[in-house]
């Protein structure tokens, strides 16, 4: 089914963000793992896999709309050097992605592409939840201090 070019364009922008997200979270996950922070590794690894599934849904939708999914583009990846910096980079990432998704949803609504809108709303829901978790981490870091916070992120074998 032929989709509107504006919709295909915005879906491709969302796709670029997802592809970038996969890489940033994946590398962060494995950095946490290397240091022994299993809890953080688990969280970021799952996020990365979820991003891949979301990218899959967006690609499928673009193809259905007879557009060309752009897998070439990748945004800037921000990698922290310690857990605090990493959490900060990831939070900044979410704070850019959420408004982008909202704008894309508005555009879909305007063009009455309610199925794309629904797909994006599902992604937005997940991304907001993830941001909520990040917000909690920032709170805990501040309340517990870095050392106590990190201690809670180590899991025994």
């Amino acid at each position: 089914m032929k989709g509107k070019p504006e919709i295909i364009k915005v879906l491709n922008e969302v796709l670029t963000t997802e592809l970038t997200s996969i890489n940033q979270y994946f590398l962060h996950a494995r950095m946490y793992k290397n240091w022994g922070f299993e809890v953080l590794n688990e969280k970021c690894f799952k996020k990365s896999i979820k991003d891949m599934k979301q990218a899959d849904d967006v690609i499928t939708r673009i193809l259905f709309l007879e557009g060309l999914p752009n897998l070439q583009m990748l945004g800037k990846i921000n990698i922290g050097e310690d857990p605090q910096e990493m959490l900060k980079c990831d939070t900044e990432f979410q704070l850019k992605q959420i408004p982008q998704l909202k704008q894309a949803i508005v555009l879909c609504e305007q063009h009455m592409d309610f199925v794309s809108r629904d797909l994006l709303a599902g992604i937005l829901d997940y991304e907001e939840d993830y941001y909520d978790w990040q917000d909690t981490q920032a709170y805990q870091l501040e309340q517990l201090g870095v050392q106590n916070y990190l201690q809670a992120q180590v899991e025994e074998d």
Partner: protein, 155 residues
């Protein structure tokens, strides 16, 4: 089967390191339990078993090659007094073992003893990926969590 003299000598050198590592892990594991650091005890006791397994493989192979395993020599044995010192000393032993393993592996290759080489590869993999990596992680955690928090996690 009569083995190559150089290979048997190389395996004996490695045995000296493995026996030292085994003894060191043994006494460290008992020190941890004495201090009530039960998680460290569990892990180090498991390393002790691993090193015993490594020594077993070396002894088996040497006997098969008609050599005489040297059970007397210990290389690089040093017991620490505090947890960071103990972990540091264990890591140093693992690094030394890994270096020595690489030398003997290269030698097995040049002497065409491919079965000994294969066996040593398993030891090297354990040494690098399991033992040394875990010890590096612990020392890193002590830095990042502080010693008191780290020790609290090991009770």
């Amino acid at each position: 089967m009569q083995g190559n003299k150089n290979v048997i000598e190389g395996l004996n050198t490695l045995l000296g390191y493995e026996l030292a590592a085994m003894d060191q892990y043994f006494v460290h594991s008992q020190m941890y339990i004495d201090w009530g650091l039960n998680k460290l005890y569990e892990r180090i006791n498991h390393e002790f078993d691993d090193e015993k397994g490594h020594a077993t493989k070396l002894i088996e192979r040497m006997l098969f090659l008609g050599g005489e395993p040297d059970m007397q020599t210990r290389v690089g044995y040093k017991v620490g007094k505090t947890v960071p010192e103990m972990l540091q000393s264990d890591l140093r032993v693992e690094y030394e073992v890994a270096d020595k393993l690489r030398v003997v592996i290269a030698m097995c290759e040049s002497e065409k003893d491919f079965v000994s080489r294969d066996m040593l590869m398993i030891l090297l993999d354990d040494t690098e990926m399991d033992h040394a990596h875990w010890l590096e992680q612990q020392l890193g955690l002590i830095e990042m969590l502080g010693l008191s928090n780290y020790l609290q996690s090991q009770m």
